[in-house]
């Protein structure tokens, strides 16, 4: 039913040009500033402000959610920062750019002289354009010569990236175009709620073939014909249990396993322990539903397995994703046209942002920083000695809790809200000798800063992003930023110049440098140009040269491993880092709501986007606790407590409470979350910890 009016009608469904738009006024075909779906939109400078209109594109098919429709509301928002701020006598006051930049550079020099180069750290974001992510990594390694750089993408899809690299030799969130999902007969969605987090993506889903794994009966789960509602923290057991059934029911694609993979025997032995009754008991998912899931995936002509934050944000996130990758491999899905495994990337440039060097262990082109050949290649592009490029640094949470870090420069992130155990991170941020934040509003992190640098918004800059399907697309500028505001690239160039390393702030020039730096790497952008992006509706990487068509579907002939085969990796379930006990008897899980994005620094300021913090809990639990719908409740964990109104719902398990993480202050969910880290991806355990709930 849903499919009937998808592609053909979406154009018709798009609203007509709003009244008040003046023909001939500037317009820009760009993409939404928010999530990784990067819905195409056209911006027009109207008489009353910037008008937004959905634009036909394979990802959003003309659709936008309310976040996209209202994205322009921040361009002239009263909270908009238009001059730098510096802290004097405990308070932030306006300053000139030269004063602010000098203060930053003087601070950096003093700290590096005293504490060494690594004492100055950089923290980036998955929303930054490819150019910015690249420039930030280069700035850290060449201008600051610090190893201490990481970014909030560590909190996003790092577990899926690690699992993808481990299995396929390469991580591209979706190794196939998003439109393939619409054509699949069966889709297993593990820990994703796109109906809220990327609504136009739902145009690619057909409820009949959809199976959703989520501890809550979300809007997405309600669409599905089968909803598996596991105990938080048990997805790994679920994945192993599904593979166990595929084996015992004779549904393994043995020809594929023989021809295209290695390591199946060890995985088969490892999942032997995960028989359905055991998995049912641990997860709460009925045996019959486990069977139905496997039968549907195995019986489909085209099947897709997708994971997202629900499976990934765990101290065992990498292994959890691996369990589902193993399932997909056993069923012969990856590298088969129309089928496969993929990760739904979250942040706007969550894909490109993880490829070009703002990650602690990485150089541009998805190269490893500890690989001598990679260092030599990138050093040549940068005009430095390979030996001068620092080695790998600490991961995001480790960085944000390190005593060795004396100064921090933040671009495109708000860790005071989005980091785990946020009260401690907030204290840590306050304790730095120098905190510099580049942002366009005074985010909770910026409010703690010594220097705040006002930056441009998405409609005011050019750049490229790489969407969730690995398609490199263009962000196009509608108008110049307001006076007093600089782009992130300009800020980096300004700082870099003061540090004696002149660089370009021109996005096209930076992109050309990025292309050279990525050439020969796993994420090879060498053949991608602005002209090709314009002419071809985006280009899928890898695209090593001008004649290469780009790679919409990966792994069709071989995987990116030395022997060309995908690797099965045995994984076993273990409990969450913190399981409920007598003192903290409930599970807390965190996530998103439709009207807000990430730390909420942007969306909480958009008046048209409704949304209040809440604690979702089951009516039975509320009755036991004496909590009424709407009444204030306090959720406490070993890290702290948070208070928000109760929202009663039987869509959640009675042993679990849920909080959205978009909010600050007393309702900050990340005050509660557990920074236990995944040993491979260094992902914190956002999705499960032990909590106590009381009426406030």
């Amino acid at each position: 039913m849903r499919r009937d009016f998808q592609p053909g009608n979406s154009r018709e469904a798009a609203p007509k040009r709003p009244l008040g738009t003046v023909v001939g006024m500037p317009a820009a075909d760009t993409h939404c500033p928010y999530c990784a779906l990067q819905c195409a939109m056209t911006l027009r400078a109207g008489m009353t402000g910037v008008e937004v209109e959905g634009r036909e594109f394979p990802t959003n098919r003309g659709g936008l959610c309310q976040k996209g429709w209202t994205a322009a509301d921040l361009l002239r928002h009263p909270d908009r920062l238009t001059q730098p701020l510096v802290r004097d006598g405990g308070a932030l006051r306006p300053a000139t750019w030269p004063e602010a930049l000098d203060r930053v550079v003087d601070g950096i020099r003093a700290i590096q002289d005293r504490h060494g180069r690594d004492a100055v750290a950089v923290f980036g974001g998955g929303g930054l354009t490819n150019q910015k992510a690249y420039a930030l990594g280069r700035f850290a390694r060449v201008a600051l010569r610090t190893r201490t750089i990481d970014y909030n993408g560590r909190f996003c899809m790092s577990s899926a990236a690690a699992a993808g690299n481990r299995a396929f030799g390469l991580d591209r969130g979706l190794p196939f175009p998003v439109a393939d999902i619409a054509a699949a007969d069966a889709v297993l969605l593990v820990g994703a709620n796109p109906a809220e987090t990327m609504p136009p993506f739902v145009r690619h889903l057909d409820g009949a073939g959809l199976i959703v794994v989520d501890p809550r009966r979300t809007a997405t789960a309600r669409m599905a014909s089968l909803h598996l509602q596991p105990t938080p923290g048990t997805d790994l057991a679920l994945g192993n249990g599904l593979l166990h059934i595929a084996i015992t029911e004779g549904l393994v694609d043995k020809a594929y396993v023989d021809a295209r993979t290695t390591g199946f025997d060890a995985v088969r032995a490892a999942v032997s322990d995960w028989w359905p009754a055991r998995v049912e008991r641990l997860t709460g998912v009925p045996v019959a539903d486990l069977h139905a899931t496997v039968e549907r995936l195995a019986g489909a002509r085209r099947a897709v397995v997708l994971t997202a934050r629900g499976a990934e944000q765990h101290a065992k996130g990498t292994d959890t994703v691996t369990a589902f990758v193993n399932l997909a491999l056993a069923l012969g899905l990856p590298g088969r046209p129309g089928s496969g495994y993929g990760c739904l990337t979250g942040q706007g440039n969550g894909q490109g942002g993880r490829e070009h060097g703002q990650k602690a262990d990485q150089l541009p082109g998805y190269r490893r920083i500890d690989d001598p050949a990679a260092r030599a290649h990138v050093a040549a592009v940068w005009g430095v000695d390979p030996a001068d490029i620092p080695g790998p640094g600490p991961s995001a949470y480790e960085l944000l809790s390190s005593d060795e870090v004396r100064a921090l420069l933040v671009f495109g992130s708000n860790p005071a809200v989005s980091a785990p155990r946020a009260a401690r991170v907030e204290r840590w941020l306050r304790g730095r000798d120098l905190l510099v934040v580049a942002d366009f509003v005074l985010s909770e992190t910026a409010a703690l800063a010594d220097v705040v640098l006002p930056t441009a918004q998405w409609a005011e800059e050019d750049g490229t992003l790489t969407n969730l399907e690995g398609r490199v697309i263009r962000r196009r500028r509608l108008a110049a930023p307001p006076p007093g505001v600089r782009t992130d690239l300009e800020v980096l160039a300004d700082l870099s110049a003061r540090l004696g390393v002149p660089t370009s702030a021109e996005p096209r020039v930076v992109f050309d440098e990025l292309r050279r730096a990525s050439a020969g790497g796993a994420a090879d952008y060498a053949g991608i140009t602005y002209d090709r992006i314009d002419a071809e509706g985006g280009v899928f990487w890898p695209c090593p040269d001008a004649a290469h068509p780009g790679t919409p579907r990966m792994f069709l002939d071989r995987f990116a491993t030395p022997d060309g085969r995908a690797r099965f990796v045995p994984v076993t379930h273990r409990p969450a880092a913190e399981e409920p006990d007598a003192d903290f008897p409930l599970y807390l899980t965190t996530g998103r709501v439709l009207t807000q994005y990430q730390s909420g620094a942007q969306t909480r300021r958009v008046a048209a986007l409704p949304g209040e913090p809440f604690v979702e809990l089951h009516p039975d639990l509320a009755a036991r606790l004496g909590v009424a719908d709407g009444g204030p409740v306090t959720v406490a964990t070993r890290r702290g407590s948070a208070t928000a109104p109760a929202r009663l719902s039987d869509a959640i398990r009675a042993d679990t409470v849920f909080m959205p993480f978009h909010y600050a202050g007393a309702a900050r969910a990340n005050t509660l979350t557990n920074p236990a880290l995944d040993p491979v991806s260094r992902m914190p355990e956002f999705k499960v910890c032990a909590a106590r709930v009381t009426a406030a």
Binding site: F5, I247, T248, R268, S272, R281
Partner: protein
Amino acid sequence: MVGYGMAGARAVAELRARDADVKVTALGAEPHRPYNRILLSALLAGKVDEDDLAIAAAPAGADVRLGEAVVAVDAGRRVVRTGAEEHEYDALVLATGSAPVVPPLPGIARSNVYAFRTLDDCRRMLAAATGAGRAVVLGGGLLGIEAARGLAGRGLTVDVVHIGRHLMDRQLDDDGGRVLTRTLAGLGIRTHVGVPAEAWTGAALRLADGTEIPGDLLVLACGVRPDTRLAAGAGLTVDRGIVVDDAMRTSDPHVYAIGDCAEHRGTVHGLVAPAWDQAAVAADRITGGAAAYRGSRVVTRLKASGVDLAAMGSPTADPDAEVVSFADPARGTYARLVIRDNRLTGAVLLGDNPAVGHVVQLFDRDADVPADRRTLLLGRAHGADPPAVAASPALMPDAAVVCRCNTVRKAAITAAWRAGGRTVGEVVAATRATTGCGSCREAVCGLVDWLSTVDPSTEVAA
């Protein structure tokens, strides 16, 4: 480690996980590589082959010797003896398992009688089943039914003979047993209950009432008996099983026993889950920990395709208990839950029970049951979801959200109509409804249609 079955292999892994320096030698009597006994019924049913039975390799550093049966334990000298060798130990774990009970029936020693316990049993039975037309299974407990289902799945006509009042009478109440009988009948398995078997003729099982049930082979599933021979020979305290305390220690402080062979507080379990709990406790104690085993909450789950059965706790209810039940015998669905003090004390769920996972967890955790008991039978509380928005535009409240992606309520659609929007396109342009995921388009069309009929003063544009 004496015995390298499900319990022994687990204990070795637990030991090495806790202490990489502990020197572990495991002696397994069965010659083939260790296998997952849980999957034997799948092997019998022909769904897997023997390669699929492999369990994870022993952890590095563990010395696993297969085909080496221990013949004696000398607890005084702290050595175990195989045929040729002696092995010293500081701590000994007996995981000797159990052996099938062979009832003293005339003819039971004939060659076409098979136990269903080990991989070898399974191989022999499979060889016999090939080309056979009929099988008789003696014993209608869990294992007997799994064997019957497996053989029926291979095309044999199967009869199950059970001496109890009904099948699985230790786990099921009478009604549950009747529904199970009916379910099995639908799968080609006949059931004979309440009559003792008298003799196996080689071609038929004769019952005490004179009935003769023909079969080309007889499968014994009359329960198991803990294998306590080594323990008894070593002078350890043995009752039904090897008696252990909460540390899984036998009467000799250097000797532990786990799994099917162990008797803890009068209980001998025959299932893997308790054996694994016990393996963890024994491993913890041996490596200096203080873990204690206080029994397991046992959930019995039948593994047989076409039969979904879960049973836990006691099927009987005392007069004060609250009983929640549901029966749809025609479709093979039956549920009976016994609740005391807001906790489950027992449950039987047979057939299509969408809440079975929930029920199992509530029992496992001894947790409060839902206020709305129907949740336990039907899944989530009935009627809790809001009505579908498109059901009737007239009845939809003004505050109902029609388009979630853009938080467009019915009132906004109506307002757009009143403001002059006369087509779906115009209403969409004014409200942004349908422009997110698109799934509310039908509802918006329905509202516009409805507005055009209830508001006759307006001309409807095409």
